[in-house]
């Protein structure tokens, strides 16, 4: 599995949460070639969002089964990325990482563009592993409340 997030601290936390999972290999950052640079030495420009094409090209090359994508860019950009991934790398299943600033409607839009689940950065580490397992076997990882909203959208 891979992580697409420009925030080094969040990446490190997620990696740590997933390390205990058997059969899981974390490919870590997939948004640049600078994986070997320690987090505190990352150049400022690194924190700028990279292009959708770059991320898709990298995912096509690495072919992770699960990709964590941080949902913090503009929603149009995120949806374009998700749609491109869904079309180009259908074998890669995307799990969204969100924080409190992300609105429910944005999550639904992201799911409508191919993401397979969503969980908070602040979730208990146990749930990161569980979400990976669930999504890996073809199911989705969202709250029942979100399922209710999606059903409303599908029916109306």
């Amino acid at each position: 599995m891979a992580i697409a997030d420009t925030d080094a601290a969040r990446r490190a936390k997620l990696e740590q949460s997933l390390q205990g999972g058997s059969g899981i290999e974390v490919l870590t950052d997939v948004m640049s070639d600078w994986d070997d640079i320690p987090a505190d030495h990352e150049p400022e420009s690194y924190k700028n969002p990279v292009s959708t094409e770059d991320v898709v090209a990298r995912i096509t090359q690495l072919k992770p089964r699960i990709l964590f994508v941080n949902l913090d860019l503009s929603i149009e950009r995120e949806c374009a990325l998700l749609e491109a991934l869904h079309r180009t790398c259908p074998e890669t299943l995307v799990l969204l990482l969100t924080d409190k600033s992300v609105q429910e409607e944005q999550v639904i839009q992201a799911l409508a563009n191919g993401a397979r689940g969503c969980l908070s950065h602040e979730a208990d580490p146990f749930y990161f592993l569980k979400a990976v397992r669930v999504v890996d076997r073809g199911e989705i990882w969202v709250t029942r409340r979100m399922l209710g909203k999606i059903m409303d959208r599908v029916l109306h």
Partner: protein, 221 residues
């Protein structure tokens, strides 16, 4: 108010014990009385036995929902094949669980559904997401196609088409644009020809992104 419907007195008693602390409970033991009670009592939740005689799920459930669309329907059944269970959700059912569910658990299901949650097996939930993705892709395609077609209109034609989309009459459009009604009609004739449509209702739907020209079956949900 919660309405329970089953021909089995044992099941009714069992379910009632589970949910009686949540709300006043009423029971129906056959389809005819259920229809009457559903329309009369307007319950917030209906706990419905999948095996209620003459129900004929899922079509029968769809008809019940139409009687009182605000009711959140939870179906209690024996183990169903995935496709049959998913078909229930497609009718608007908000939850499906086993008929022999523990009373305390049934209470949790009803509470969750009342909060707007969907009580669906995780192994079925991918159907839901796939439908959402398919609908979204279809809408995007329609929007793109409409965008391309509308791009063939002149600026004036587009302006008039948009005003028709807002529900304005030819007279109102003429007044707003300071042109004659005859000119509005002439522009609309050209718009209809370019979009290959015959009336202003279709034009309004196209401008609103609800249908694609030439395929009136693709009405949006």
């Amino acid at each position: 108010m919660i309405l329970l419907a089953s021909a089995s007195q044992d099941d009714l008693c069992h379910w009632e014990q589970g949910v009686r602390t949540l709300s006043p409970i009423f029971c129906s033991t056959n389809l005819e009385s259920l229809k009457v009670e559903l329309a009369r009592l307007k319950p917030s939740v209906l706990l419905l036995d999948y095996d209620l005689p003459q129900l004929n799920a899922p079509g029968g459930i769809s008809a019940l929902i139409k009687l009182h669309p605000e009711a959140k329907v939870i179906v209690l059944s024996h183990s169903l094949p995935d496709e049959a269970e998913w078909a229930l959700f497609r009718t608007g059912v908000r939850g499906v669980c086993r008929r022999d569910i523990d009373g305390e658990q049934l209470q949790s299901v009803v509470t969750a559904v009342q909060r707007g949650e969907l009580w669906i097996r995780r192994t079925l939930s991918w159907h839901l997401l796939n439908e959402l993705v398919t609908i979204t892709q279809e809408r995007t395609k329609i929007k793109q196609a409409i965008g391309e077609l509308l791009a063939n209109l002149t600026q004036r034609e587009y302006e008039i088409a948009t005003l028709v989309g807002n529900g304005e009459t030819n007279k109102q459009i003429a007044r707003r644009l300071d042109i004659t009604e005859r000119t509005v009609k002439a522009h609309l004739t050209e718009v209809f020809r370019k979009l290959d449509i015959a009336d202003r209702l279709k034009l309004a739907l196209i401008v609103k992104g609800s249908i694609y020209p030439g395929d009136s079956s693709k009405m949006s949900h």
